[in-house]
């Protein structure tokens, strides 16, 4: 089972397994990991599994939550990451966190349809429900409205937060860009984010962006909490509900 290890000056203070419930981290004694330091907020951060991925979420703390060296609002965690809260850090052991493997739903024995056809609303609803019943994956298909957001962590931009409303979001200095970069020598079009049916993909422009510290080699699907760095700007991709 994945676990978190609270460390202070390289000494192990406490180990906490990560189960179905979020691990609460903060100064007040009702937390799962209590960090008794004035720099730590009462309800500071939480770590939990979201769709098979380990996520840390800052709870609006005063002094912030850092993953490795980066301040984050929400970020996916990987094995060996360190979450820094004040002078303490929490080591992430995610080796045992292999997400549940899904059995690909058996192909419904649907009739082969060669001609294009349109479904009316009622048939459509029934078919979607049938299709939904085919796969367990529906448990992630919630009806809650998800708002994909770019939160600027560092670098000069015309706003600190952008809600992605268009199919194509451009990051650059150009007047046509959605996320406008400020400052000299910034490219007109540094990178772009494309909404596809299965999610959001970041692609290169005049620069090659890095996602979670790794330069992308082609359009790369973004996950909740991912860090994107391009043209001197660091942003978090966050899906709010």
């Amino acid at each position: 089972m994945a676990k978190l290890s609270l460390m202070f000056e390289n000494k192990l203070v406490k180990e906490v397994p990560i189960g179905a419930k979020p691990v609460r981290i903060g100064r007040s004694p009702d937390n799962d990991i209590v960090v008794d330091n004035l720099a730590v907020s009462n309800d500071h951060a939480r770590v939990y599994f979201d769709a098979g991925r380990l996520v840390v979420e800052d709870r609006g703390s005063l002094n912030g939550t850092f993953v490795n060296d980066l301040r984050v609002e929400r970020a996916t965690l990987h094995d060996g990451d360190s979450i820094w809260i004040g002078k303490h850090h929490i080591k992430v052991d995610a080796i045992a966190d292999a997400p549940l493997q899904y059995q690909s739903p058996k192909k419904a024995s649907a009739p082969m349809i060669n001609e294009t056809m349109v479904l009316d609303t009622k048939v459509r609803r029934e078919m979607l429900q049938q299709a939904a019943a085919m796969g367990e994956r529906t448990q992630f298909a919630s009806d809650r409205i998800k708002v994909p957001t770019i939160v600027v962590l560092s670098g000069r931009t015309d706003a600190k937060e952008y809600i992605l409303t268009n199919r194509l979001t451009t990051i650059g200095k150009s007047a046509m860009a959605t996320i406008k970069l400020k400052g000299w020598f910034k490219p007109a079009m540094a990178a772009q984010i494309n909404q596809r049916d299965d999610g959001y993909y970041v692609g290169s422009g005049a620069k090659i962006p890095a996602v979670n510290g790794v330069a992308i080699s082609g359009p790369t699907k973004l996950n909740d909490g991912d860090l994107i760095e391009v043209a001197g700007v660091r942003v978090n991709f966050i899906v709010r509900e």
Binding site: I113, T116, L119, A132, T138, L168, A188, N194, S204
Partner: protein, 279 residues
Amino acid sequence: MQVASGGATDVGMVRTNNEDSYRIMGALNLFVLADGMGGEAHGEVASSLAVETVVKHCLEGQQNPNAPLSGEEKPGLTEKSRRLASAVHLANQEVFASASQNAEQRGMGATLTAAWIDDVNLSVAHVGDSRVYLLRTGVLQQLTSDHSLVAEQVRRGILTASEAESSTMQNVLLRALGTQPEVEADIEQVGLFPNDVLLICSDGLTRMVTEPEIAGALQSEPDPQKAAEKLVKLANEGGGVDNVTAIVVSLKPEAKGWFSWLRSGANKSVGGNGTAGGH
């Protein structure tokens, strides 16, 4: 922006009639594509009626900006987007009326995808599973989402994108033109950059040719007409199970505008330095 375009269509290797229709209105920088359905020759009737209605309504709007709009207006749209939305609304009425009045046309319909370029602003109106792609700095990006059952299942997390590609249900649309009295069109507004390349295509292309192959063809063939022909050829080589249509639009910086930009840029920086020196 300098706009150059080309288009090609083919019946494919399996079908006997071509139900795709498209129009390139060079003077307006308007590009319209429809993929008809409904057996016999009625798919062709639906798709050409849809394309003609859109072209005519946009031409009217161009000549008289006060020409009445059809359908409900959405907020936050440019004039061209509003006109396109109105054109799709009208085209739906036309196809639906024709299908209800002529018994042999019952059940006919069409996809409709229209792109209108106004200098650096692109408006897209879309119903169905034809697509608009934008190739920019070598990255192929999809500007429309398919109104198909499998695409909806991908959006809901029921299918993965690759499962959708091998699904037997790919032909099932959730939205099309002319099958209901009212239809909701997706409207997308995108800012354009020099050297952007647009592709508007029917599903006969996207089912036969992978996106990397499409991107490669668009990059290797700078002439839009030849690029469109090449894509159609690729679709036929891949099996050509459906009618295939491709419209390719390439955008280049205005040659004249480039030099005037240089001059105004020079003037600006002189002015900027003067101000800085004064402080």
